[in-house]
């Protein structure tokens, strides 16, 4: 079987692109590893689509394994009928371990840097499962069986148009299925290899296989993320808006902390962050604020944050040192790309207001205040920008916000759904709590939708929220599964 591996790798060899290989390395050095407890999904500084790295890891494995003459005794070798889906065949290692078996074993997933094959394998298996969920695996298999049956029917080609359609759909589903199967097979091969290496005390082979597993782990992570972020607007930049709830200064301070959390999160990911609008509280914090988060997939991730965030702590603003509960609402608006159909805005529907318009203006006044508010008269939607240093730039920024708000409204209208992430701040009911941050009497941040929790609130408030985001996104996949 090692012959097979080598042969497959040789084919890849001709596609080798070294610059990608280096990219991959540097990309991964930036990755931050998450708090445990979640599929080892990496935080991704998504600059390059990940599928292209796949062959690179193969090459890597090849470079380490070639020249080895170990023989793998694995149980593959499936005989295929012409249009078999292989659905019935569950792949396993030579000693019968399957992918589901790995997941069921609940091996602890450790940090990537730990050279523990079980941890790598468990992480990869989880990624594969997410990918399968995204593909709606069971349905896909049923559909493939159906299509195969039709293709095997000799009368099919009596209607060539229909036959062509069936055959194309079959081909595309087959490709998806095979890709997953290939991942599964690769993982199982690695496991066989590592067991063999241990049996024979071949430390070199063991460490090489471990490395190969690590590459694979990173790769399947990338694929997993792609599976999680495949919504139509996911790749867009976005605005994040935060508004303090009732409760005065304490809530405004909390709103500021939440906004700070997103600023740090976005900066860690290499996203551009610009404050578009900020209404400071009288004593501390912010009444509301809008930031723009620029970069690929910003919306895909941030949409997981929409809803009300709750804080419990001893208020620093209460001289009686009592415990307070505060709320902050978060809305996320995608910034549609140029390719999307955007709402046409008529200049004549706009009222543009300048703040502090009092007095004669013009040469009489010198002010650095250049805030601009734009009202879209037909919808009543407004947008404000005050953080640029010129009125012109504030107007441009406010127009962009207005455009996105109108697009969002239109999307919600067209979809006739009120999907959470298309809600504006004003639509978000204060009852819609998604996460609770407790600083006192115990310390814990818990997502009320997924029950994902972290016992170190400081790290979360410093922007380490990927665990929450990813667990929510993968939980949403399961929800989607029930929809047609």
């Amino acid at each position: 079987m090692s012959y097979l591996i080598v042969k497959r790798s040789c084919n890849r060899f001709s596609h080798l692109d070294f610059s990608k290989f280096q990219n991959f390395l540097s990309l991964n050095q930036n990755h931050k590893v998450l708090v445990s407890g979640l599929p080892s999904v990496l935080t991704k500084t998504i600059k390059n689509p990940s599928w292209s790295y796949f062959s690179v890891s193969k090459y890597h494995k090849f470079s380490h394994l070639s020249g080895k003459d170990k023989v793998l005794a694995s149980g593959f070798g499936v005989l295929k009928s012409l249009f078999s889906t292989q659905a019935a065949v569950e792949l396993s290692t030579s000693d019968g371990l399957t992918i589901d078996g790995i997941v069921a074993s609940n091996w602890t997933i450790l940090d990537e840097s730990e050279s523990d094959w079980k941890s790598h394998a468990a992480a990869i298996a989880q990624s594969i499962q997410v990918i399968k969920r995204r593909l709606q695996w069971k349905k896909l298999m049923v559909r493939l069986d159906l299509l195969s049956a039709q293709l095997n029917n000799p009368d099919l080609w009596d209607d060539p148009v229909h036959a062509g359609k069936i055959s194309r759909e079959h081909g595309s589903l087959m490709a998806k299925m095979k890709e997953v199967k290939a991942l599964e097979r690769e993982l199982l091969e690695h496991i066989d290899m590592i067991k063999l290496a241990r049996e024979e005390d071949d430390t070199e082979l063991e460490s090489e296989t471990l490395k190969a597993l690590l590459w694979m782990r990173r790769n399947s992570n990338e694929k997993e993320l792609e599976a999680l972020l495949s919504g139509e607007q996911d790749s867009c930049s976005c605005y994040i808006e935060v508004q303090g709830g009732a409760g005065g200064t304490e809530s405004m301070d909390w709103a500021k902390m939440v906004m700070q959390m997103y600023k740090s999160w976005a900066q860690h990911h290499g996203y551009g962050v610009t404050v578009v609008d900020e209404m400071p509280g009288e004593i501390a914090g912010i009444k509301r604020a809008t930031i723009k988060v620029d970069g690929e997939y910003a919306f895909g991730y941030a949409k997981a944050e929409v809803g009300v965030h709750r804080l419990v702590r001893i208020s620093p603003f209460d001289s009686g040192k009592r415990r307070h509960t505060s709320f902050a609402a978060v809305a996320v608006i995608p910034i549609l790309g140029d390719g999307s159909t955007r709402v046409q805005i008529n200049e004549s529907d706009l009222r543009i207001e300048r703040f502090r318009a009092g007095g004669a203006g013009g040469q009489h006044v010198n002010t650095t205040e250049s805030a601009v508010r734009i009202v879209h008269i037909p919808s009543g939607i407004t947008a404000t920008c005050q953080n640029e240093r010129s009125q012109h730039m504030n107007k441009a920024s406010a127009m962009a916000v207005l455009q996105s708000r109108l697009d969002q409204l239109e999307m919600a209208r067209q979809a006739q759904i009120n999907a959470q992430h298309t809600q504006s701040l004003t639509d978000i009911g204060w009852g819609n709590q998604i996460r609770s941050y407790v600083l006192h009497p115990y310390r814990m941040v818990k997502d009320l939708r997924t029950n994902y929790e972290v016992s170190d609130p400081d790290s979360v408030l410093e922007g380490e929220i990927d665990g929450f985001i990813l667990s929510y996104l993968s939980a949403s996949l399961d929800k989607d599964k029930d929809c047609p």
């Binding site: 404050v275 203006g361 010129s390 012109h392």
Partner: protein, 360 residues
């Protein structure tokens, strides 16, 4: 409504330049370099900077809304934003300024003391902020620049700080050249150019053949405008000339396709009551439009009739509704036949601010 002065008088006063013959020669005035363009040569610790920041914020807060009440000056919220901008301009890495303010809370808790490179000394920072609060020195003179449209223009004492209202003149010109393309290819003039704001703003929307001549009487304005024109690499297409209104433009009489201007238009009596930043620090020659404020506007109307080609466009900024209406009336009646399609355009505050029209 009619303003108090007879038009004949208005017209005759305006011909005489305010400065008399002995103007300093151009080469003697070197424009000041705005803070954000200076080399970062001052090493300070983040703790010291933090200390300054705290001090500056305190000073800003002590102002409350007292200045708003006294002369429509800045309130403490605005001043605090200016502090951030001053830091933004002074810090070596402009983008790090945002990080600086983001991570303040970290500085406080960790007590970490990093060193930071500044473009001005810490002493200067203290000095400048004191001037801002105590002397009401305009923020834009402190940092030496004004963000205007998408431009960052150098400004200094002796030159008017371009106003946000004036940004609209560029939009007006933009609309006109989109409708009449040939206007975007000819020769334009911005008279009383100050920092060069309008000249630079409009030149950037024109086609490659268009030229703009920018004039100003003030030698400081001429040298600052020249600096700004060069900074935007427009020295081949914008020419800055010194002199009174159309005097330096005799060679192009009747050839201009467009004239824009924001001449001084504040009535002389109002000068003493101006907001401190304006009245105490900005040049009177850039503000005082004579008894009615209309001296130069009327001079420009008359001059424009001679300078513009038929079909040529003009846009003038005014003090508001009264001046707009007066100008329209003047052009329709007193110099009837010179201009057509006269229009009044309001600014964002809803004040009738601009008069536009075409040479017949």
């Amino acid at each position: 409504m009619k303003l108090g002065l007879s038009r004949a008088c208005l017209y005759s006063c305006s011909c005489a330049p305010i400065f008399s013959s002995s103007m300093p020669s151009l080469t003697t005035i070197k424009p000041k370099i705005p803070v954000f363009l200076r080399p970062p040569t001052y090493l300070v610790t983040s703790l010291d900077l933090q200390k300054w920041h705290g001090w500056a914020k305190n000073l800003a807060s002590s102002v409350g809304s007292s200045l708003v009440e006294s002369d429509n000056g800045p309130d403490s919220t605005l001043l605090c934003r200016e502090i951030n901008w001053l830091l933004e301009d002074s810090l070596e890495n402009r983008s790090s300024s945002s990080r600086f303010s983001f991570s303040q809370y970290k500085y406080d808790t960790s007590g970490k003391n990093e060193s930071v490179m500044l473009r001005i000394s810490l002493d200067d920072l203290y000095q400048l902020w004191k001037q801002r609060i105590e002397e009401r020195r305009p923020f834009q003179y402190i940092v030496g620049c004004e963000h205007w449209r998408d431009l960052v223009l150098s400004v200094q004492e002796g030159v008017l700080i371009p106003r946000p209202e004036t940004e609209l003149i560029v939009d007006l010109v933009h609309d006109v050249v989109s409708n009449y393309e040939e206007l975007g290819q000819g020769m334009w003039a911005d008279v009383g150019t100050g920092s060069g704001a309008i000249a630079i703003g409009i030149r950037r929307i024109f086609g490659s053949y268009a030229r703009v001549i920018a004039t100003d009487l003030s030698p400081v304005a001429v040298s600052v405008a020249t600096f700004n024109v060069q900074r935007y690499g427009l020295q081949d297409v914008i020419e800055v000339r010194q002199g009174s209104w159309f005097e330096p433009l005799k060679d192009v009489e009747g050839q201009l396709v467009g004239i824009v201007s924001n001449p001084p238009y504040i009535p002389s009596d109002n000068i003493s009551g101006l907001q401190a930043e304006v009245g105490r620090h900005e040049p009177r020659v850039a503000l005082d439009g004579g008894a009615s404020g209309m001296d130069y506007l009327l001079h420009l109307c008359n001059g424009a009739a001679a300078m513009l080609k038929p079909g040529g466009f003009f846009a003038f900024e005014t003090n508001g509704e009264k001046q707009c209406e007066f100008l329209i009336d003047y052009m329709q009646n007193d110099i009837a036949g010179s201009f057509c399609n006269l229009n009044i355009v309001s600014d964002f505050a809803g004040i009738q601010r601009f008069v536009t029209g075409f040479r017949q």
